[in-house]
């Protein structure tokens, strides 16, 4: 079916293994395949930054087939941020290169004694010395490797690397590829750093075989016409993801001041439209084969130097370094974003850490002595930029903050835990559960920790427009779908969507281009998958792949000791907002409990513990996983 490359850095051994068809069909690629590999090969309780952890880099079975959204790959491992599962995704040009270099996935295990990088080229791989790149930024590393390879075309090779943050084990360090793309979340860059793996590079032009070329081309043509119909596509092209910033503030749902407010007076100064109208935006860019063009190119000489190659800010970054820190200076946001890209930091976690530090400073828990003289006042743009540098280098206060808010709050004490905004150790993204109930459920139940990308948000489901009977979303069976509803209808939508998006994460496609925000229908993706592989997969089987992946990551966390108690939210998110359209409406513990009960029920998980039952695991063919949980006494009776 395909091939998996296994690289042991301790033994400096490289092997190729077949990807068996029955495994590929059940787990596909990306999330599903990585969950299978890591569940089978990692022992529970290992140190995420120790030699026993493994990194799985994966494309999907449709990789290298050119259509909008088909340009992503995954990076998964046990996360150094929390106690369990970690996963992250990135776009750019790496995904097709993994396939054209001859592989579906790369497993990296062990630890190298000295810094190395991995070169993968048309079915072969070699471990190369990276001493010259250690300590360098991601930009310096990528250009150095391309020079070393003698590349003349900038798209000949795709390089993914870590910066100083990953080397220094900042727990939310990102993996950066193609200069501006980030597998940002879950600290996968720190896992690379712990292995002394500075980078990997994929090169090649191997033809990826497809089963039925004619059918495939028909479905790809269908994609081209469908993607244009997505309601989010044109705004995304015009203003990027940051175009939502003022919309969210207008509706009282823009995370502001470390989640103390839902509106930000400076939202219109940092929103995507202002990035365009001010001239900060100098171009639009895209990922491989994608017509959406949502990527931003920004350039400036002052007040901060911004390089066009290093990327422009997305929505999450805009809010995290903007409203979240009470900062209305879009140039400072752009600079903080580029520093994160160069040092290799997740912009969401970094922004939340900066907001946390600002609140600690306001409360006197962090003093000017501790910050090295840095005035960490709300909205201070220079302080935000400087703090990102300190974190990237783990210098001064940046050393403590490089641990993430969960650990930093424990070390600081004095009540700092009360404003450390995380779930399962992972910093919370820039969406407001008090104005979107399913977001609260999502933050709580996501196995990777607080995540905004497990399913499409509540707004899409208020009207009947985006409901699809063929996907189990029937309007007459789903009453009460307003933003504040939290009953069974809302949770049913979450469950169906979670299965679909877990399948997207296994195919490793960009949900921006897929229904409902994008126009590509799941039936079309299924058509491409079947044409490419020769399978006869039904929509039921397609959705089961997503369900299986979710059950497997939940089983991974069960083995690590996580339970229903970990499916929770910081108290601050349960208290009502003081401002905006949702003022005075809490997301209380009773609401979360009711949503969790319904969600566990729909998944067949045990309501008391939140763990998957034998019946649930057997339903998706994970009998051996149930046996293992049983042996470890974490299978509910």
């Amino acid at each position: 079916m395909g091939k998996i490359l296994r690289v042991n850095l301790s033994a400096r051994a490289i092997n190729t293994e077949p990807l068996r068809e029955e495994v590929a069909r059940k787990f596909i690629g990306g999330k599903g395949l990585s969950a299978r590999i890591l569940f089978d090969e990692l022992k529970p309780g290992i140190d995420a930054l120790g030699p026993e952890n493994k990194l799985v880099i994966a494309a999907g079975p449709m990789g290298a087939i050119p259509f909008s959204g088909n340009s992503r790959f995954s990076v998964c491992a046990k996360s150094p941020l929390g106690r369990g599962w970690g996963e992250s995704y990135s776009g750019g040009y790496m995904a097709p290169k993994i396939k054209q270099a001859g592989f579906d996935a790369i497993i990296v295990e062990g630890v190298s004694e000295t810094p190395v990088w991995l070169y993968v080229n048309e079915g072969k791989a070699e471990i190369r010395d990276a001493s010259n790149y250690w300590g360098k930024t991601t930009e310096e590393t990528e250009s150095g490797i391309k020079k070393e390879l003698g590349d003349t075309d900038k798209r000949q090779t795709s390089v993914a690397s870590i910066g100083p943050a990953g080397e220094k084990l900042v727990r939310y360090a990102a993996v950066m590829n193609d200069l501006r793309e980030a597998a940002g979340r879950s600290g996968m860059g720190a896992v690379m750093g712990s292995k002394k793996l500075k980078a990997w590079a994929c090169k090649g032009a191997l033809k990826v075989p497809v089963h039925d070329d004619k059918k495939l081309k028909d479905y790809v043509r269908q994609c081209v016409s469908e993607v244009k119909k997505g309601p989010y596509i044109q705004p995304l092209r015009d203003y990027g993801t940051a175009g939502d910033t003022d919309d969210l503030s207008a509706s009282g749902r823009l995370p502001t001041k470390n989640f103390l407010q839902g509106t930000f007076a400076g939202a219109d100064k940092i929103t995507g439209e202002t990035i365009v109208s001010s001239g900060l935006l100098t171009g639009r860019d895209t990922c491989w084969a994608c017509s959406t063009n949502c990527k931003r190119v920004v350039e400036s000489k002052s007040p901060y130097v911004l390089e066009k190659e290093v990327g422009g800010q997305e929505y999450e970054t805009t809010a995290a370094f903007g409203s979240y820190c009470m900062n209305n200076d879009m140039y400072a946001i752009a600079k903080a974003n580029q520093l994160c890209n160069l040092y290799g930091l997740d912009t969401i976690s970094t922004g939340v850490v900066v907001g946390f530090a600002m609140e600690a400073y306001e409360r006197g828990i962090l003093t000017k002595d501790q910050t090295g003289g840095l005035e960490l006042k709300w909205g201070n743009p220079d302080a935000i930029v400087k703090l990102v540098e300190l974190i990237g280098n783990r210098e001064g206060i940046g050393d403590l903050l490089g641990e993430g808010v969960w650990r930093a709050a424990q070390k600081l004490g004095k009540g700092a835990e009360s404003f450390a905004m995380h779930v399962k150790g992972r910093e919370i993204p820039m969406h407001e559960p008090r104005g979107k109930r399913n977001i609260g459920l999502m933050y709580a139940v996501a196995d990777r920790g607080a995540c905004h990308m497990e399913w499409e948000h509540d707004d899409y489901w208020e009207s009947d427009t985006y409901l699809r009977p063929e996907l189990g979303l029937v309007a007459s069976e789903l009453p009460n779908r307003t933003l504040l509803d939290y009953g069974l209808s809302k949770v049913k939508i979450a469950r169906v969507q979670a299965d679909l998006w877990a399948m997207c994460d296994s195919l490793v496609v960009c949900v921006f281009d897929i229904y409902p925000g994008g126009g590509i229908e799941h039936s079309t993706l299924l058509g491409i998958l079947n044409a490419a592989t020769g399978w006869d997969m039904s929509m039921k089987e397609y959705m089961e792949v997503g369900e299986r992946a979710i059950d497997l990551t939940r089983a991974f966390n069960a083995r690590e000791g996580l339970t229903r108690d970990d499916d929770t939210l910081p108290k601050r998110l349960m208290d009502p907002l003081p401002d905006g359209a949702f003022a005075g409406k809490p997301f209380g513990p009773d609401i979360l409990d009711s949503m969790l009960d319904n969600y566990y029920n729909l998944r067949g998980w045990d309501k008391k513990t939140g763990l998957p039952t034998r019946a649930a695991l057997q339903r998706v063919g994970l009998d051996s996983v149930a046996d293992q949980l049983d042996k470890l006494n974490v299978l509910p009776n």
């Binding site: 948000h457 427009t465 409902p516």
Partner: protein, 84 residues
């Protein structure tokens, strides 16, 4: 004849269709949001295709089509805002 002067704010997809972020409307008093929306659809007919998914706010607070308008109100047409 007395009138009500309000600002209509288009966000996201509504802004794409209207081709502007904000415009002033003068309506015959007394006026409800539905009159403002109806006038907006006359000026930008494609808005009608979006109406099922748009939410309405007056001065940052949720409102229905029946809500009464007064001078200086800001009416926002908000499309679905998703993840990303």
């Amino acid at each position: 004849m007395s009138t009500v002067r309000v600002a209509l704010v288009y966000l996201g997809q509504a802004r794409e269709v209207a081709g502007t972020k904000e415009e002033e409307l003068v309506l015959e008093a007394p006026a409800k949001i539905e009159q403002a929306v109806s006038k907006a659809i006359s000026a930008h007919p494609k808005l009608s295709e979006l109406m099922q998914t748009l939410k309405l706010l007056i001065n940052g607070q949720w409102a229905t089509q029946e809500a009464e308008l007064k001078d200086g109100d800001r009416v926002t047409l908000l499309p679905p805002v998703g993840g990303g």
